[in-house]
Symmetry: C2
Subunit: 189 residues, 2 copies
């Protein structure tokens, strides 16, 4: 059952998103997958291993998506636009995983926590490098680069909390508001 590994992730993602990691039991995940509790352990060593898999895949996919979206983009402003657009779209399209990625870090073992924080640092550094280049070029405001990068990333993460598919605004509408707001905030007058 190669697809059972994926099914477990899908079911666990839904449960962790709706109820939280600590409120979800392995038995519940197994039940919704239509397998015995013991069969889960054939695929994952523990509930924490499932959480780690979700964190790890989400961060890898987020970073790959960003790199792809920056490919061939020239100019600091356009790189920043592409980065914000990429970040927002990914968060709105993968609402559940990104919500878990942002709120369920405490559930990880110290070893896994360190690995995920390293992946987050790598991702944030790509954004910080663009901001730094903009500051150095005198295009972006001369503010603390870390605070600016966290501010921009977290204002976009928020989308993953309140966004409702099929609502008043599309993913693209929302992404463009964030892109304009971030650039307006960054660019020297």
């Amino acid at each position: 059952m190669p697809h059972m590994k994926d099914k477990i992730i899908r079911v666990a993602t839904s449960l962790f998103h709706r109820k939280g990691y600590f409120a979800t039991s392995i038995s519940e995940i197994a039940g919704l997958c239509g397998i015995q509790k013991a069969s889960i352990y054939y695929h994952y060593a523990s509930k924490e291993a499932i959480l780690y898999q979700i964190h790890s895949t989400t961060m890898d996919d987020l970073t790959t998506y960003l790199k792809g979206n920056l490919q061939g983009v020239d100019g600091i402003e356009d790189c920043m636009r592409a980065a914000v657009r990429s970040h927002v779209r990914f968060h709105l399209e993968r609402q559940k995983e990104t919500f878990i990625a942002n709120t369920e870090l405490r559930g990880l073992t110290p070893e896994h926590y360190a690995l995920i924080v390293a992946k987050r640092d790598t991702y944030e550094q790509i954004i910080q490098e663009i901001i730094q280049r903009g500051c150095a070029a005198g295009i972006f405001v001369d503010e603390d680069v870390k605070i600016l990068s966290y501010a921009i990333l977290t204002q976009c993460n928020a989308g993953a909390i309140w966004y409702k598919p099929g609502g008043r605004l599309t993913v693209d509408d929302i992404a463009e508001v964030y892109v304009r707001f971030a650039l307006q905030g960054l660019m020297v007058r």
Copy 2:
């Protein structure tokens, strides 16, 4: 023991912040308060009642703090500055409560959840009204007011996650970066 009610809140706030609401038991809270598990129920009907108390007090204090900081402030720009400053300071000074307020809503009963969401709406409306006045006056950019308000509030909330007292930057340093970034993003060029 009138102060035991407060002690329970203080201990529960620490535990919910460190381990999460679902991972914390009533026995643990009682143990750290130096009382029997059954004695907790003399003060609070349930673990959820403690969580609700934390949410409710935090939202009331946040709103009172904002209203106080807006008292006597004239001009749309200065109101916005005062609002962002107020929001950031409160979040950094009451890191644990605001972190719980932003991440542990799922633990509430539907009735309590509705009450807290109403308090959040009231608070957000104060911010949205300032933005709306700025847009109407042609001072602020003509963007979706709700997205702008969520963007500004959540970028500041982030401070409560990464801020470390005694670190590189003071609460005031951080508040002023957010104030400048928000205003720069809002103001028409």
